[in-house]
């Protein structure tokens, strides 16, 4: 019987079905929790789904690539979801066009601040050069950040970790920080979330306000562009 259970586990743990099911169910629970807690920032569904699944993988000693072979179907949808941002952008095009000047100004200041602050802080903290380089593109969406990391000959896997941590922290911090600063303009709040915390910040922005979500999506897309031009330049200037 025990052998039977073991061979069943071996079979299931190698199939995408198990990991896809676990990803969806654990997320559904963290999402329900987030709703029940009225979208409290600390009830961030990404944060809780990640650590719960992480503990599960640790307990069952499942390597991450085995998990990812199933979960990649969900991961794949990140691309189509980026394309889908065209819809809220289209529906809010008037408010977006009316805000083009402040958007471009905030884009330049935000992109430079995101890259320069992390490089200067990492240098001040005495981190090794390759770690500093790997952290530099942390504010852009994972695929782009890892590409930048490669062109800098840094460690793309460390960059991916920095990107996810940045996104989760940004999504948790943004609402309390903006409320504390007394900023009620959801265009500005969303735009800041997208610049500082890419897609996870955008998901958070959509939870709070549709206009904030739209501006966050735009900010994320523009930041990916500006950062891939800026970071290699900034790094060579700041790390001389």
């Amino acid at each position: 019987m025990k052998d039977h259970a073991f061979s069943l586990w071996v079979y299931l743990s190698q199939s995408p079905l198990l990991w896809l099911t676990i990803t969806l169910l654990v997320y559904a629970v963290s999402e329900a929790l987030s709703l029940a807690l009225h979208r409290h920032p600390l009830a961030n569904p990404v944060l809780h789904a990640v650590w719960i699944i992480g503990v599960f993988l640790f307990v069952t000693s499942t390597p991450y690539p085995v998990y990812f072979s199933g979960a990649q179907f969900v991961h794949f949808l990140l691309g189509p979801a980026t394309v889908a941002l065209a819809i809220p952008l289209y529906e809010n095009r008037r408010i977006v066009l009316a805000s083009i000047v402040p958007m471009l100004a905030a884009l330049v200041v935000g992109s430079v601040t995101a890259a320069a602050s992390i490089v200067l802080l990492a240098k001040a903290a005495g981190l090794p050069r390759d770690v500093v380089l790997s952290l530099a593109p942390k504010s852009v969406t994972a695929a782009v950040a890892m590409g930048i990391s490669e062109t800098l000959h840094a460690d793309p896997s460390l960059t991916a970790v920095a990107v996810i941590l940045t996104g989760i922290m940004g999504a948790i911090i943004v609402t309390p920080l903006m409320n504390w600063s007394g900023i009620i303009d959801f265009r500005a709040r969303g735009f800041a979330a997208g610049i500082a915390a890419h897609g996870i910040g955008t998901a958070r922005a959509f939870q709070v306000d549709e206009v904030a979500g739209v501006f966050s999506g735009i900010a994320m897309s523009l930041n990916a562009l500006v950062t891939s031009l800026l970071v290699p330049l900034a790094v060579t200037q700041l790390l001389r």
């Binding site: 394309v83 065209a86 819809i87 402040p102 100004a105 905030a106 200041v109 922290m169 911090i173 943004v174």
Partner: protein, 126 residues
């Protein structure tokens, strides 16, 4: 629904082909976003292309379905963090702290610039 998803994937596919083909720094899906946006704007001008997914809010519904679950899509990549915990341990809590500090500084710099320029140019929220 399927046709709408197909249209979204087609936009992404063309976006990937353009960015790879021309060696652009833009991510493929961002070009796909622009293509879909242009398609919707063209539809408003020329009723003739309002067919299939471009009719009766088809592509709009499918897109909303994806965006309503945007957080879920980051979970598989996020779980990758646990595999790299030794990298985090190696440099203590320093990495997490400076990332958090940088996020706060970036959020404030961006939001304050947006508000300041907004007020200077009179681009207030309608």
């Amino acid at each position: 629904m399927l046709a709408s998803l197909g249209l979204i994937l087609l936009c992404q596919l063309i976006g990937e082909a353009i960015t790879r083909g021309f060696g652009l720094l833009l991510p493929g899906p961002v070009v796909g976003l622009l293509l879909l946006l242009i398609l919707l704007l063209v539809r408003d001008r020329f009723a003739i292309i309002a067919q299939g997914p471009l009719r009766n809010g088809g592509v709009e519904t499918a897109s909303r379905g994806l965006l309503n679950n945007l957080s879920l899509l980051f979970v598989p990549a996020g779980v990758g963090v646990v595999e790299k915990l030794d990298l985090i341990y190696a440099h203590g809590i320093a990495i997490v702290l400076i990332l958090a500090l940088s996020v706060v500084v970036t959020l404030l710099a961006t939001v304050l610039t947006f508000r300041l320029v907004s007020r200077l140019f009179g681009h207030e929220a309608p």
